[in-house]
Each structure stands twice: as structure tokens, then as C-alpha cells.
Symmetry: C2
Subunit: 383 residues, 2 copies
């Protein structure tokens, strides 16, 4: 650590917060450029153009006439910050890939390739590295996506950095998070809070005295959602194809952190009826014995990797295509990877209307009686 | 650190070495896949195809009819492993970008975009982060290349992970490192060993007793080559355009580590005349006072980011185009970024013939008298 980084009087990144830091970085990068004219024409000749820049789940570039737009994203996962040291390596590889594929799904793109960098201590067993890559591949194989390169370096903390590229269907409209409009309904795929509760249980979080502890089966299902999330690739592509008015993003930090980002980017507000949040049966049962409600996990848990989207189109225009996309494609691909998933392959994806965009700004939470409440829960901070 | 990672009897990645580890990973990723048929057709419909996979400096994918091939690469840099803790942030940003642009240059691609992930301790000053991104941009602006996204996370060690994409000129032939053929001459751009000597001086490496210490000016120039290397973007693109028979790679680990990779990939050998290695005047002068010869730094120093290429074409067919590419393009772009570079902008790039590919395998080093010698020097190990 340098002396310049140690100077205490300075503003440090922990004082800023992730959203503000990203806005500052975007500012530093966006300032007027000098002397680019000659090289810009070289790029134009090659047909390259930025369609969506910093601020969405993925950037989108055009690669030239006749080629589908290319969506690009990257994520860095650090031991002790984003995953526990004993996260099984196979599940860690799968989760790292899923987090990136989820970002691509959020702009409706189908994953094509990933680049993977792994920082690891020198004494990491080769077997651990192999399980990590096999886990990653098990997710990529579901979508015909390749690992085409990467880097392996020495590091004190296990660090996984993945960059992923995917193709947008030219018939689709790219569903930015800034496109929500008052009057559109707000939907979410799957169920919320399972991954957060799974992490809580893994960390040995306290149960409520005198209440029943979660059953082993519920515990396992919640932990699996934390360790091996499913990216909503097929649903994202189907939404982009069917709902050309959609705003969309994926839920990685929890609804309470992510929805305000959509509200701010779109310049509208949302009122969330807490009783409408989609809660899985295992979470409902387990939460009875935990110090937070199922709704708190759904709002603050994070890492659900479900899709959040708005559209004014009636469900009759898109629901079946989106809900059945995953089931159909998995079945056609003859998926036989992870057990447990097999059962899910034929089941349509749950999609729940949880609010509607309104004029104004900010996100409010309403209880069953329609009263505005301020929910509290466990919050994950990046810095 | 998990118990599974601690088990001492197991093979650990430090026992394997970087090249072997990458080969193993490529093996795990390349095995037969099941159930991909349905999704493969989805990708084919979108026009995506892998042209160059794991093993070269960059992968290359085709993005569909009419679009230029897209080269992709990624690099992870870790504090204490790839850079010293007091590397100036502006120079670190520039170096991280340059390392990736150099990989793209090695397949003849022009950089189009980068994705940047930064892992940093919470107490990192915002000013440090700003200087880092500004330094990165100073390099990207030279080529009209954009930062289109990234990630910022908490980490104990400063960790920089960049993924970069670039376009191959459709008129070019992609110069893989496996394309060297007996009879082709072997060339290298610029001078070798400066960055390695700069790092040696920065680390306070011992001087030879009774010999003059490097002058302040020589010291600064060598350290600058370590802290702020120049990727050979224009030269790489010009070589790919002019020499359709070329094998090429960039020198990141030093000639003694990198050339055997080209030899092995191509199934040929090289005899290097040590007296032919291009050594800069500052290194020649400084090495007189250091415990290693200038040739040792050239062979083992690493991080030169020069291009190594073979071609059977006579220099009259390509030398001027390649050597003047950088000068011309920089002048046209009206570059006025870093001082010191301005002088270099008008100067043609040095290109030196250092060997010829021969039948057989392996790399041998010859002294001035033509005798085979085994040079020794400071070696950088990834694990």
C-alpha cells in the first residue's frame, strides 16, 4: 500500500459508494477527446460503433453492416467479498459464469463467448482449478457458449474476472433500464430472496429463539440458489423479442438496491406492494424461523439473478413465449447436466407483476393495507 | 483458504507452471460436449463462429456476414506480482491498457473497446482511481478506443482486469504464432530489455562494485519503458496487412520465455545470435554497471511489449509500411498526450532481424563466435 493511498484526509472510495463511483468513472472517461479524428475514421471504416455505453447491465456495440449487435459485460468476484472461501469450486465456476450471462440476458443478448481470468494463491490445488472450469463450462454448455481465452495469475485472494460477449437478435429491441415509462407494468421472473436466505444460512446466521429451524431440504434448496444461480438467458431474449417497449435489468444486488437504479435512469417512480413479491415455498417456510421476513430477503438479499422488466403490452402478447422459452429450449437441447435442473426443464418460468411505473421519482413500499412502510434487512455493500 | 485448498499432498498450481496450466485448462474446456445441438443452431443463426481459440495472444471470432473478425483478449494484473505497490496510478492505467492492446496488435487487430474491472482496498483514494482511469484513457485515445464498461469491487490487493476487443482488417491475414515455417526470417520491433532493466533499477537491484551507476536520464528512460510501455498497434496492423505469411506474437514474458512458445506452436526451431539483439543506448550504458548483461535483460526481462514476427517476404515488400505506420498515424492523429512521445511520433520504428526459423525444435543461443551458449538472467514466474 502506497503512502499516497494511505493519506487519511483524502476522499476514499469507501466514502463514495458504488453507484457514485461508477458515475464518476463514466465522467472521467466521457470528457472531450483530442486528436482522435484520424483514428476514428480507421474505426468507422471497420464499422465499429458504440450503441449502449456505461450505465446498463451490458454495453452494446455494432460490429459492422450485416452483423448482429454485440453485447459486452464484465464482472469481478473476490473471495471473502462476493463468495465465501469454502464455496465449492464447481459451483463457483458456475456462479461466475451465470452472473455474466445474467447481465447479457438483461439486454436480451444470447451469450456467445467468455474470457476468464483467475487469480489464485500458489498453493491452490490443480483439482480445485479443474472443478472451477468444469463448473463454468456446465453453465456455458447450456447455451452453446465458449470460453475462448483468459489469464491465470498469482494472487493472495481468489479472484475471478469474466468478460462475456453475446449477440442481440436483430429482430429485437435492446431493453435498456432507462426505458421505463409511467403506466407500464413492472414484472419480475422467478422468485426473490432465496439466494440471500441461502447465504444467511451458510454463514450460520442466527435463528429466532423458540421457532422451528428450516428443514434440511429447504436449507439445501436455498443454499443451491445462492451457490448455483440460473441466469434467465432464454427469458431475456424472449422479452427483448416480444416486448419492444421494455425496460429491463437483472437483479444482482436485491430489488431494494436495483429498482431505484431503474427508477432514476428512467425518471419515473414505483410503488411496490410487498405482499405481491414472489416468494418461494422453501423461503416462506424457512423465514418463519429466521430474524428477517421473507420479504426482507426478497428486497435486500441480492444475487437472485432474476430479470426485472416493464412493458405496457398485455401479457397475452408475450407471457407464453417468455414463460415457456426456458422450458422449450432446455428440452430441445436435451439437457442432462445437473440433476434437479432436469425437473425444472419442463416447467414454465414464473413471472409476477409487482408494480407499475408512475410519474414522480423514487421507490415506495406498501404493506397489505396500502400503507407506506420502510422495510429493513441485511444489506450487501461493495465498498 | 479452504481445507481442500490446503491439502499438501495434492498437486498445486505452483508445481505446474503457467504454460502447462493453460494447456490443461484448454483441455478441460475442449472436451466433447453434450446436448448443444439446439443452441448451436441459435448461434449459427446469429452468425457467430470461433476462428482462433485458446493458445494465441488473442482469440478471434467471426461476428457474422459482412463484419470484420473480432479479436479478443484479457489480462489480469495484481499488485506485488505484476506491478509494485507504488507504481504511479496514471502509469498503471496506461500500462494495463497497453498490455491488452499489445495482445490485440499481436494478431494484427486494431483496438475498438475495453472492459475494465478494478479490485481495490476500501481506503483507496478517489484521486488514485481517477488518475488510474485517466492514464488508461491516455493510451486508448491514441487509437480511438473506448472504455465501454467495467466493474469496481473491494479487494485486499489492487487488481486490474481488462478485456479488450479489436477489429481485424478483412484485407489482412491473421498472423498466428503457430504459422512460423523453416526458412522464414525472424524479426523483432523496437529494442529489448529496457523494461526489465527499468524494473531492476526500481526495485533497487544491486549495482556492480566499482562500476559507474546509471545516469539519472538513462535510469528514467528505462523506468519509463517499464511503467508506461507502448503497444505496437500500428505496426501489428501493418504487418498483418503486408505479410500474409507471418507468424506473430507479442513479447510480454521476455524473448527466452516467449520464443520457445512460437517454436513449439509452429513445430520449428530458432538459433538466436545474441550479438544481433536490438539493445537501446540507455540499456547498453546502464548495463555496464549492473550484474546482468544487456543481452540477459533482453532475453529474460519481460514486459517489452514488442512484436516478434516471421516472414519469408523481403523487407522491400513491407519494411517501410510497417516501420513508418506508427509515425504516420500518430502524426495524423495530432498526438500531443505524453511529452517525450512527441519526439518519437515522427521517428520510424526500429525493426531488427534476429534469426531465421529452422527445421527441428527448440531455441539455441549463439555467441559472437557462433558457439552455442546458455544465457542466464533474472526470471519472472507467474506462480
Amino acid at each position: 500500500v502506497t503512502t499516497s493511498r494511505k493519506r487519511a484526509a483524502e476522499i476514499q472510495i469507501r466514502h463514495i459508494g458504488e453507484d457514485d463511483l461508477i458515475q464518476r468513472i463514466a465522467g472521467w472517461l466521457a470528457e472531450r477527446r483530442d486528436g482522435r479524428r484520424a483514428v476514428r475514421s480507421a474505426l468507422r471504416r471497420l464499422g465499429m460503433r458504440v450503441v449502449v455505453g456505461i450505465g446498463d447491465d451490458a454495453a452494446v456495440v455494432s460490429c459492422g453492416r450485416g452483423a448482429p449487435p454485440l453485447a459486452l459485460t464484465t464482472d469481478m468476484l473476490v473471495e471473502g467479498v462476493h463468495f465465501l472461501a469454502d464455496h465449492p469450486p464447481e459451483a463457483l465456476g458456475a456462479k461466475a459464469a451465470a452472473a455474466n450471462l445474467s447481465d447479457l440476458a438483461a439486454v436480451g443478448a444470447w451469450p456467445a463467448w467468455i474470457l476468464v481470468s483467475l487469480g489464485a494463491p500458489r498453493q491452490t490445488p490443480a483439482r480445485w482449478v479443474e472443478a472451477f472450469y468444469r463448473g463454468m463450462r456446465s453453465v456455458m454448455d447450456l447455451y452453446g457458449c465458449f470460453c475462448i481465452g483468459g489469464d491465470c495469475v498469482r494472487a493472495k485472494q481468489l479472484t475471478v474476472s469474466i468478460a462475456a460477449g453475446g449477440n442481440c437478435d436483430p429482430r429485437s429491441k435492446i431493453p435498456l433500464r432507462s426505458r421505463a415509462k409511467p403506466g407500464q407494468a413492472l414484472y419480475v421472473t422467478g422468485t426473490l430472496g432465496d439466494a440471500g436466505a441461502g447465504l444467511w444460512l451458510l454463514r450460520g446466521g442466527a435463528a429466532r429463539a423458540g421457532r422451528p429451524r428450516p428443514t434440511e431440504r429447504d436449507r439445501e434448496r436455498l443454499i443451491a440458489r445462492h451457490q448455483r444461480p440460473t441466469p434467465r438467458v432464454e427469458a431475456g431474449a424472449a422479452i427483448a423479442r416480444a416486448c419492444h417497449d421494455a425496460a429491463m435489468m437483472d437483479l444482482s444486488d436485491g430489488l431494494a438496491a436495483d429498482l431505484p437504479r431503474m427508477a432514476q435512469a428512467s425518471g419515473c417512480g414505483f410503488d411496490i406492494d410487498l405482499s405481491a413479491l414472489p416468494i418461494s415455498a422453501p423461503l416462506k417456510r424457512a423465514a418463519a424461523g429466521l430474524p428477517y421476513s421473507a420479504e426482507s430477503f426478497a428486497l435486500f438479499g441480492g444475487e437472485d439473478y432474476e430479470l426485472l422488466f416493464t412493458t405496457a403490452l398485455p401479457p397475452s402478447k408475450w407471457f407464453e413465449a417468455v414463460s415457456h422459452a426456458a422450458a422449450t429450449q432446455r428440452a430441445a437441447a436435451g439437457q442432462r447436466a445437473a440433476s434437479g435442473r432436469r425437473a425444472a426443464a419442463g416447467r414454465p418460468l414464473r413471472i409476477t407483476r409487482i408494480s407499475a411505473a408512475r410519474r414522480g421519482e423514487g421507490v415506495r413500499y406498501l404493506d397489505r393495507a396500502g400503507k407506506v412502510v420502510e422495510p429493513r434487512g441485511p444489506i450487501f455493500r461493495h465498498f
